[in-house]
Every structure is written in C-alpha cells, then in structure tokens.
Symmetry: D2
Subunit: 352 residues, 4 copies
C-alpha cells in the first residue's frame, strides 16, 4: 500500500502517517518524489483497513498494491487446476469441452430429446435450468426439484454430465444430489451465503461472471468457494453490461486470456447469454475457442420458438451441429481439440 | 408488441406472422410503412413469448411496447404509497427522512453511541449491518444475530426505527423479528428467493438498486415483493457502476424523479455508497434532496478511521450535523421539510 | 511511479529494474513488502514512459502516482479562477449563472424572441447553436455564419452574453468574432487541433465533458487550452453514457464537487443533455445547484414541439420561469444566489 | 414510428395525436391494445421530428422503428463492398488483411526497419501515426508532415499500402496526398467536419469506432462519408469503454458479425488498442479472425520499451511473426486465408 501525500503536506503530517502505520503494526517507508512524498506501507498481509490512513491530514490518495485474492491466483498455484466431472470430462486441460442444452428443463420429452441430440453432436455436458432466476415474477420460474430428476434421468441415458443452477441454500443441497456440477448464475455471483454453501457442497462449481463484475471481483467470488475447501471451480465469461442495446451484453473475450494469466482455474465462455442473438452464437463460440476458452456453454432447444425462456438466443440442433463443425478446426488451429462425448453409462438400456 | 418486417419481406412471410399471432390467441394489425411493414400484436397481456415471432422468416425486429411490471406502476395506483415504520416515521409523504448509522454494527458501545448521536442530530431511522456481504472472504463479515440484538437495544433506547440487511432466507426471519425494515442490498437485488421471502415477511422492505440495474429491473425486483403481498417497499438509488474510477459509483440522481414518475413507491438515496468519498457525501445529500428524494441514507461512525468497513466513506458525527443543517433549507426550498426525530419509545428508561 | 514486482522476481530482475530507472535519469527506491517487492521511481517529472519498465522481466504492474495534468490543478493554483464575460457575468464566484436558449438558432424571429424571454426570466447568457454536430448527416446542421450574426444581434438587443459551439478551426475564428464564449461540445472534447485553436482564440471557452470521458481526461482536455495560454475555461458536466436507456445519459453530479476539489476552474451543469427529458430538467437543475454548480445551461425554445433539434428536451419558457423560481431558493440555501441578468447594453434601442 | 398512449389517455388526446400526424404530412394508424392504444405513424421518410409528438398530452412514449442510416445498410446494398488499395490489397473479400506498424512514426530508421520487418512477416498494409491525438498536451504529438514523407518512402520501398490518421481538414489533404488510406481515429468518430472532408478526399477511409459509440452511431458516422460520395469505407472495432480497469477497453468482438449483418462495408479489428496489453494481442487477434473480421490492425515496434507512445501494447516483431503463424490456421478453419504481402513496387531498388 502506498500513501501519497499532498504536495504541500507538512513534515508533521508526514510524521503522523508514519506513526499511524507503526501503530497499526506495519512499517512505513517514505519515498521522496519530484512533486510530493509518498509513503510505502510495508508488511501488508491483506488486512490493512485503508480508512485509517485516508482520513489523515495531508493524505491525498491511498493506492493498493496487493491483490486481495490468494488461493485462486497463479502466484499461489502455478499449474492449471483440472476439474474432473464424473463422466470423465476434464476442464482446464488441452481439450475444449462443449456444454449444451436448453435454458430451462420444460418437460421429460424435451430434455431427453435434446440431451440425446447434443450428445450425438458432440457435447460432453448437459445444461438445463430447474431453478430459474427470472427478471419478472410473471415469467416461467422452472420445474424445480422435478426438473432435477429429469436431468438425472437424461444423464443416466446419455452419459452426459449435468450442470444446473442453484439459487439458495436449499437448492444447493438438491442440485448437489442430482447434478455433476453446480452453477452459480451471474445474478448470484456476489450472493455470499450461496457461495459459502456451494463451497461446502462437495461438487464442482461453475461460477458465472456477474453482469458488471470486474475480473478481480470474479476472482474474489471464486476465492469464497476455495476458502470453504472446494478446489473445483470453473469460471465463465458470459458478457457484461454495456451501453449499446444492439446486443444483450458485451462479450468480454479478453477476460479469457486475462483470467487464465491471473488464475489457475479453468475458464469457459457462454456466447448465448453474451450475445442474446441466435445467429451470433456460432461466430462468437469460434472466437471464444480462438481466445483460449477451456469450454463453451450454449443454449440449444429442440424447437426454440416454443421455448419457455431465452428462445431468442437458443440454437436449433442443426446450428449446434454447425457450431461443433466450426469450433473443431479452430481448436486444432491452436493445438487443442474438442473433448469427445462420453460413452453412455447405461448404453445398453438407451435403446430399450 | 410490434413486429417489424424486413423491407423485402414477402406477402407470404407477412401472412405467416399474422397467422402465428392468431394461433397464439392475439390479434394482428398490419401497419404499412414507408420502407417496410410492421405488424402490431394486439391484446398482449404481458405473457407473449417473443421468441416465437423473432424466429419467423422476414422478421427484422420485435419491439416491446408494454412495460413488464404492473403493481408497482403509477398506472396501477396513482397516489403515493406511504410506508409507515413503527416509530411513526413515514416515507413517501411530504417529509424527507434521514437514515444514519455505521456500515456495520461493531460493538455494543459503538452502536449505542452512534444511535444516540444521530438521533439528537436529526435522524429518524438507524442503519447498521449485522450480516455483511463483503467482496472478499477475508473481510469482516458482521456480528450476525448478536448485531441484531444490539440494534434492537439501540432502538429501544432512542426511539429510532432500525433498518438492517438480510442476505438469505434465515436472516430474513431474524431481521424481521428484530428490525423495523428489512434491507435488500444492491448485490441481492436480483436474488429472487430472497425477494420472495422478504415479500412474505410482514415488514417494510428497503430495496437498493443493483450495481448495474436499469430502472425497469429495479421496478421488476420491487414487483416480486408486491406480488408476494408486501405493499411497503422503499426504493433506494445508491450509485451505478461506470467507467470512471474517480468515484466508487456514478450517483444516478435522475433516477429519483424518473422512478417517482413511473412508480407510486417512495424513493430514497444513499450518497455514501454512491460516492465512496466522505467529503462528497454532504453536497450529494443536498443534491438528492433537491432532486426530490423521500429520504437520505448515510453512513456515520463515531470514529471512521477505526471502522471495520467502509470507513473511507463514513461521516464523522460532526459532518452529519452539517448534512442536517444544509439539507433542511434545501428541503424547505422545494416545499418539504426534514422529518423530526421520534420521541424515544422508552424515554423514561433511557436516562436510568 | 511504483513498479510492483512478481512475488517470485529474482534479485537479478530487481537489479535490472533499478538499473533501468537509473539509466532513464531517475532514482530507484526499493520497498520490500510482505509478499513482494515494489520499487519507487523518484523524480518523475510527468515524462516517464512506463513502457520501458512494463516490459522488464519480473515486473507485474506499474502504478502511476502523479496526476498528468498541471496548470488546471488546485495544487498549481489554489484560489478559484473567475471567468468574466463581456457583459459583466462572472463564472466561478459566489453567484450561480443561468445560461439558456435553443438547441439551434433557427431564424431571426426565434432567436430574438427567446433571447428576450430568457433574459426577462433571469438568464445572463444566451446559448444557441449555429454549427450543429449531428449524429445523422440527414439532420438539420445549423445556419452556420448566418446563425452567428443573429446571435450577435440578440446579444446587442438584450445584453446577454452569447455562448455557441465551434467545430473546427475556421468556426473558432468566426465564433470568436461574434460570440462571448466558445463552446467545445462533448463530441469534440478530445479534438486536439480544435482545443489548441480555441486555446489561442482570446475568448473564454466552455468545455463540455465527453460522453465517456473520465474527470482526469476532462482536466487534460482543459490543460490543452491552458497550455496554449487561455486561462478562461469553464467545465461542463452534461451526462455520461451508461447502460440504462431510460435516460439519454447518466447525469454525474458528483463530478461537480469532485472537479471543484481537483481544479480551480468553474464547473457548470447541463441538465438538458444529461436527462434528455423535458420534465426532468427542472428537478435536475435544482440538484446541480445543490451540488455546487457554478452555473446551469439549459435548452429553452419558444415552441419546443416545432424545434428543429432537441425539441424533446427543450423547456417551454414557462418551465424556465419555474426553474429560476426553484433554483433561487436552492442557491440561497447554500449561501449563494442566482446571478442577475445584465442591463442591456443597448437598452435604449431595445424598445425602438 | 409508434406513439404509445397512456392507458388513461382520453379520446380527445388520441384525436389530437392523429390530427398532428396528419398535419405533419404522414398517416396515423391507431392500434388498440390490451392496456392502452398505440398509434402508428405511416410514411416516415426518416425526417420525422419526434419532439412534436412527445410533447402532446396523453403520450407516454415514442418508439422509433426505422433505422436512421441508409446507404451503409445491407438493405441499401446486399453484396459486400470491396475496398481496393493501390497496392492491390482488397478489404471485404475472402482474404483477411494484416495491417501492422508502430503507434507513431518516430524516425526514418524506425519506420523503414519496421516496414520491412512486417512486410516480410506477412502484413499488406503499414500503419503509423504522423499526427497523433494524445490525451495529454505534454505527450509526443507526432512528426506531422515529415512523418508522412517517411511513410511514403517506406511504402515505395516495400510495396505496403499506408494507412495513417488525419485529425483536421488540413491533415486530410496531406494524408490523402501521401497515404493510401485515411484513418479517422476513435476520438474523431463524431468529428463531422472531418468526416465530410474525408468523404470528399478521394481516398479510402478507415473509420474507427468511438470509445463509447453504439453500432448505430458508427454506421451513421460512416453514412457521413458515403453521403459525401466516398464508397470506400472500412469500419474498425477497437474496444469500447467499460467499468473494469483490468484492460484498456472491452473488445466488443460481437460487433464484427453484427456490423457485417447490418452493413455491406468491410469490418476489421484492432486488438492492440482494445486490450492495451502486449501479451493479450495475439490471442485476441485470433479471436477477431474467428469472429469474421476482414482484417487485423496491430501495433508493432522494433523496440517497444523505447517507443514514444503505446509501447506497453506494441508487439515485438517476433510476436507479430507468432500472430501471423496463429491467425493463418484460424482463417483457414473458417474457409478464408490471410492476404499475401504485395510484391514491392520498386523491388529492384530495395536491395540497392
């Protein structure tokens, strides 16, 4: 931490800052400058409350030097974390993982059909919401626990891993029971009781970036999960809020190489929510893979115009086929490959 | 809802849109234009899923006309909602209510001292966090239930109403028991299970605008509370995220007259979080009152440099005195006045 | 400037940074920290090119301590700059100055009528565009030089000072000839050839904040004017771009007290462009005065629905009367007053 | 255009709106709705001034349906515009064009060296600033006309086309004389006198998106160029301003497929300014090509730490080699290829 003094700060004011730092249990190191003096605070363990210094007379600015996160950082752990799902899918390694499925589980027929389709087309993970956080109280809110049972059935039939969202403590418990991976949605990225609960769930967590979260805040949210003992966290860029209504969000793809340089955790991308437009999903999935994403999460629906939510941005199965066909060569162009879909766990029953 | 066709849309494509609208149970009304045709969808009850129309060939754009919220709107209820707290404070009437207190309850001594100070200086409501949502897992997380007991003691001694934040279903229950008003923080504005629970709590709710929430989204979050049967909702502008690091947030004061024209609910402002700088709180509190805020919520601490959180933006008690002295004439300049602090409920005991 | 090293930086890497700083002609001062070392660069005169340091091995981050602007800063000059216009109006002193007029000069009748109206209602300065930067090439682009002549005629009749926009080098010359103050619009805040030209014009300049300019960038733009020898610069907050389409811009009123603490220059506010909605202009003008603005700039048109530009946000003369009536008491509440309109320079002719 | 009435609008108010539309010379078409009536304005030729309607009693909102741009739109011209430079390079066709060079021309040695390097590595176009718009008046402002001569010499030696920025009317003239393509920088995207001048220059124009410009505004700026008779316009996404200080800008790559669906003009991307970080330029160049960019513009300097501007984001020549090596396979993965560098016009002299 660096305390920058006003250029007319008096020697007394400078001495008070130095004494205060001493009292707080750290060491002060004055750095005389061209126009003004600055005072380095040495020994900061991340717990310094800057308020005590900001308030002192003659202080112009307090600049933080240390990053506030620890366990998620590359400095804490240099090698990539590999997050393994029960069906053998690995996130964070050389393979790019495709996760696909409807915005919401709507019916048994719908979820079984789409699970089968996306697995045959190349997905390794099935997405689908059972608990849906919706902006309006009058929108479809999901099937709840029944949706989870249907997802579990789809997993058993296809061998796909299942990722689905939890929205509060109770839903973490049931999602952890039925799914392979717990999603924390963008609106809940800073829902700390939820993060703590998911951190103790024993399941890998897919943590989506908040609508206007900085990368530092995303990493601090992940730090909540790791600090509760859960090392299996996957970050997801899904677009951030911006000023242009032309797209639903701005897809911040630079966040992918940036996050991967700051943290050892896998980072995937969600072009469906980032663009909000079906016909932009395929090019932006390509761009995400080219930027270095460890996976791509997309919405696919057997019949998008009839979807109960997010139909506008859901792909037709045919478009998902095209996505796979185009992302494969992109992955190979950068020395990676698409992960292969799993062999169904109960393949013998699937055809019965 | 208006469906705008491409300028080369064929008669067949237009017919398909009309037929689809018919099938959906609404009426279609074509509007021929200079360059292109648009088709009005008549009879929209707010449940139309646009995806079905966006996907049709020849459709360029779907424009929503209806606002998605209902009970919170001025069209639903023209007169102002008055939210009454147990100590007689009324929000939404002619008086401007001052709410003050520390970011977090830190100790019995701290909260009793500051409660006494702010009441004597002119506050009607005491704020103070017991459950603290913090960006870093390593920051002070609040005293929890013990903090609520201290707030209740401060209320009994001073006659101030108490507002404090709930962060999940369990905390709603205990906050509703000990406090007069439940705060939903900015990070939780779209935490729908929490909103639903607070909507059934029987207590007035102070709903803070999310960091990058539009006014429409804020009103939809309030709609969750009203649709659960709770009419006593107060909205709070607390700054939104923007590109300039010079202030913690951008204080969107236009949101005050704007929200008040769209909804019948009271709207207050929080200049402490909006600016993040102690010496900007007083001028911006004045500006909020001038813009028409029904109340001002500020952080005041007996000794800000020692505060366990938000010390940088907390006022000294002397500065709060100045705030009251300056906001009073501003309120009178627009034909309002500051609400008077309450007579302590247990005044006879206070001096014992 | 502070160079923060990676926590695994080697002694060699640290030595290289120190040597590089020496070579650049500055002094290096290492500051050992808890997790990592940082190196202070001492003697920075504002010309250090950080690139040379950012690129060195082991360097994690370079943090700038000095502010890049000089002559505009309060540290350079402590007392307020007073900008005096030819009709005696003073900006930056205790009086709050009202500037009013149409978006664009449309005709002789229009500008003479509105000038007369706003002067009688309390304005000291007449605004009105002759050169109009318009987003679309098909919109009305202003009357050009003819508009300037009409503004000059209005000034002669009413005694109002005239402020109008210049958009390139040629227009600076003619605006300087006919008007009292040259406006640099938001779209041109970083048009440096224009700033340099205006800095040599001999006329006071009204510099509007760019649509997404930080306060630092606004001050640097003003620095261009001062560094060309023009001390008479007035800054104007007019709203910045944000994510909510509900208003044209977000009115960043905190920028007013913030800018006034960083610079000695006067700061005014433009609620017409900031809100884009006629019925929000009056409350936000009040808020601007309460926040400490040295003046308020608003669009007023004799008949807004017929305006050739910005009619949606232009006040009716009656609304400007209301604005004056409401802003007066606000100004007095903070110990200021509204500036009185000037005595017409050619009052004897006015009635002829 | 659609005029939405308040749900309590009276028949008289509705009639007034209809009559006003009639008076304005358009036709009104009422569309009765579930909650309220809306009135379509038929025959809008893009010149309707909405102010006249917004102001009428009973009107709640006016919604624009038509896009305000014309000649740049895909509806005006379906097939891609191909922009041909003098050295044979074509933008907008199947080949992806690489443009590279230093931020600023600094010396004869520097520009000749880097031109030679980037041509041999695969660039077809040389970039380099002679007139530099700099945020601070104390930063290096470019070599001006001398810089242009050096660029022309570099072009003659290498066969590269040259693109360089013009900042005002005079510089358009000299840039048009010496360079193959005139760049309009982000800060000048809405500098309309400059756009008009460049529109009459007879040279292709590279138009960079403004720091907070919407796609619609970018297209309207291009419309200024086309409406002056210049069909050879290339758009450039270079990052937009956002809230996270982690990167210089947010690289809005979705803007590439989006713009290409709205306009027939070529669209390229500038990952140097978009990220501001040297080590993120290569992955984001890959992502831009994957998203469908028609070209990539990057800063390359023979010795970035010594660069007089933008050194932090400039690539080393070795990194540009890597960029070319990685972008080639990405281009092929989507059925395109990198454009081949030109045969030097004066190859026989080059070795002399």
């Amino acid at each position: 931490m660096l305390i920058v003094m006003h250029h007319r700060a008096t020697p007394d004011q400078i001495r008070t800052v130095v004494d205060t730092i001493d009292e707080m249990g750290y060491r002060a190191k004055p750095i005389p400058g061209y126009q003004r003096i600055a005072i380095g605070l040495v020994g900061n363990d991340g717990r310094v409350e800057e308020a005590r210094l900001v308030g002192l007379p003659g202080v112009r600015e307090v600049i933080k030097v240390s990053k506030p996160y620890k366990q998620v950082s590359r400095e804490w752990r240099e090698e990539n974390t590999l997050v393994r799902l029960e069906n053998g899918t690995v996130l964070g390694g050389p393979e790019v993982v495709l996760m696909a499925g409807p915005c919401a589980v709507e019916s048994r027929g719908q979820i079984l059909e789409i699970a089968d389709r996306v697995r045959h087309l190349g997905a390794s993970v099935l997405r689908g919401g059972a608990f849906k956080p919706r902006t309006s109280p009058y929108s479809f809110q999901g099937l709840g626990a029944r949706g989870l049972e249907l997802l579990a059935e789809a997993r058993d039939r296809t061998g796909l891993a299942v990722v689905t969202e939890a929205v509060d403590a109770e839903s973490v418990a049931v999602v952890a029971e039925h799914a392979d991976m717990i999603q924390i949605g963008a609106r809940n990225m800073q829902n700390y009781p939820l993060l703590k609960r998911a951190g103790r769930s024993g399941r890998p967590v897919l943590l989506k970036r908040g609508m206007s979260a900085t990368i530092t805040e995303l990493l601090l949210a992940a730090e909540y999960l790791l600090s509760e003992g859960n090392p299996d966290v996957v970050l997801c860029e899904r677009g951030v809020r911006s000023f242009d209504p032309a797209t639903r969000n701005v897809f911040d793809l630079t966040a992918i190489p940036l996050a991967k340089s700051l943290t050892h955790l896998p980072v995937i991308a969600d072009p469906s929510h980032a663009t909000g437009m079906r016909d932009k999903v395929v090019p932006m999935a390509r761009a995400a893979v080219a930027a270095g994403a460890d996976g791509v999460l997309v919405e696919v629906h057997p019949n998008p115009p009839e979807a109960l939510s997010d139909g506008v941005q859901s792909l037709y199965p045919e478009q998902f086929r095209e996505l796979v066909a185009q992302c494969g060569p992109i992955a190979r162009a950068i020395g990676r490959s698409l992960a292969s879909p799993p062999v169904p766990l109960v393949a013998e029953h699937a055809g019965v």
